[in-house]
Subunit: 267 residues, 3 copies
Amino acid sequence: MAGGGTTYGWISLTTDYGRSDGFAAALHGVIARLSPAVRVIDVTHDVRPGDIARGAAVLAQTVPHLPPAVHVAVVDPGVGTARRAIALTTQNGVLVGPDNGLLPPAADALGGIVDAIELTNTAWHGATVSATFHGRDVFAPVAARLATGAPPNEAGDAIAADGLVRLPPPIVAAGVGYVEAEVLTVDRFGNVQLAASGEHLAALGDHVLVGGARAVRATTFADAPHGSLILFVDSAGHVAVAINGGRAVVALGVEPGDVVRVAAASP
Amino acid sequence: MAGGGTTYGWISLTTDYGRSDGFAAALHGVIARLSPAVRVIDVTHDVRPGDIARGAAVLAQTVPHLPPAVHVAVVDPGVGTARRAIALTTQNGVLVGPDNGLLPPAADALGGIVDAIELTNTAWHGATVSATFHGRDVFAPVAARLATGAPPNEAGDAIAADGLVRLPPPIVAAGVGYVEAEVLTVDRFGNVQLAASGEHLAALGDHVLVGGARAVRATTFADAPHGSLILFVDSAGHVAVAINGGRAVVALGVEPGDVVRVAAASP
Amino acid sequence: MAGGGTTYGWISLTTDYGRSDGFAAALHGVIARLSPAVRVIDVTHDVRPGDIARGAAVLAQTVPHLPPAVHVAVVDPGVGTARRAIALTTQNGVLVGPDNGLLPPAADALGGIVDAIELTNTAWHGATVSATFHGRDVFAPVAARLATGAPPNEAGDAIAADGLVRLPPPIVAAGVGYVEAEVLTVDRFGNVQLAASGEHLAALGDHVLVGGARAVRATTFADAPHGSLILFVDSAGHVAVAINGGRAVVALGVEPGDVVRVAAASP
């Protein structure tokens, strides 16, 4: 099943399927049948159902740490409609999923899109394709073939990268003594990750207000007294807010998409 | 550890152990020790504790998409009692677990039972067998041996397939202009899967009432206006009810085992 | 990447990262990049955030059932502070994680600590080490190198095993006709595991009071009437309390760390 394409030892999976049903396992099964030597890394199956922005953020922040792979991502409220199924080739792997904004941030994190293909070659899909489970019937079979070296340009028709659906860029607005930034994600610990990056903090000094509340600049959680709001640069390079021993998301009362203001304060 | 039996490259696991404890990992560990070349696919460990019908439904709907494998399933409220431990050989894999109704639907999905064995050969079990964790001490060790080619008939005594415990078949009753069908499962998206199959819908036309509420016949979720109740044939071939952008299980107020009436309506 | 050390085919992961974010997948990714032939078993990622005692208990009770491995455990509220990063070599595997009490019970379960190393060799760490994600940047890279045969003593400086941080031993106090024991864990089924072991029960007879309520001595769940409180020796060798068809943790109203009194009762 080879022929000119790059081979990949790994396929990663990022979906909103949960783990209570057999959906994620069906993807594992399809991959095991078509490309038994390929191994699978589950990024997460716990994206909130239909939350494309969340899926895109987790995928983009995780792929840099994975080996070269075919990355399958399925958060796909438009499954079965005219939305396109696509594969994006980068210098460091291939992304496979719906054309709904989910994949481009990860493509950027992998060095940018080299080629974009619409998955129109139905010979690569499952024998029957359901209207509601393209993860099993389209994306996983295509990923298995790509991982074993089938060339991406045989998966379908070349399409223009600048015609792909993209999510609106997150809001980041910096001024004198402040930065306003959108909440990108909230992690399991209740830490609130902002779209701002480390350099936005440089101008603000060590004493800051986050959403009006005093916070301490720190490098790690235990650098502040128990219960204190902490502003730090997280492991993905983003500004984030935490509470030593607590959940910042509760203290701030925000959710992804909200905008948080971080401003210089007097000592 | 071979000898006449089929070998399998894969073992699948379906349990109600959850993933917060180390129980599922202990199964992985036992398999890794006894059959290190075999790879494991987790179907799910999130079956509601003791919910045999749910485990049976997820297993039966997932195994057709897995590679040839030994499928271990453990939803086992009678662990340690006189309920039998069994292995069911089919044309497309072996099922291992308790004789409580959990396995036969999957055996049917794999082409039917060829041989049934009670796992009485204690030489295949763990060195010590606890009274409460037969997944670790009986089912996983037996599965590992079967996967490496040990013949099923050496796992214990042949038993009659028609003497196996079977769950009552789900209710499906079709009449003129309606079908009444039991709820089989509710998935992560809140979609309600009924025991009825696609052909039951053919006679009802495009306008239907589901539990008295108007619904639209559709092939995928986005075929109906946001908030509309949708009746479709799901990726497992069952009639299912969804809401575009919502959770049908909440709108219908049902749970597995309840009976839902789908009836033809005027346009 | 070899050199004198033992090689391991497996790395296990025990963390409080959850599975909603990409953190656990990043560990898989780092391991796949550095030691692609090594396979990973997820013990659990669902330790309650920061709950070192819970992580220690799950890890210690699971490792005896895993193949020889490098076991990575990360429940690490002090990440980025002066708490040490360590590797503990035992006769049956190596443990890697923070020096905060998480690892020693598992080391004991694997036969005891042979050597303890502080992970001061930064050449083994990630190219950049974040202040908040040592799982990805320190522990996983070190584990990957150890699994491929790099000798533990090259990971850093030898330290004294008796200087390691240890959790206080759980309370177990036996007297005439009773034993008082701390709750170690509560599992997915609501079963309450006590620090007492089977021999503590021998003196109490078949009729007991658990926290003042009548319970039945049994070997498995179905040995008692539906709804009855059961006292049994669980699959890890600990005294545990269950309810046939219910959740003992609710009936007892306890949580890990609480002390439960088990006393002989009249028939």
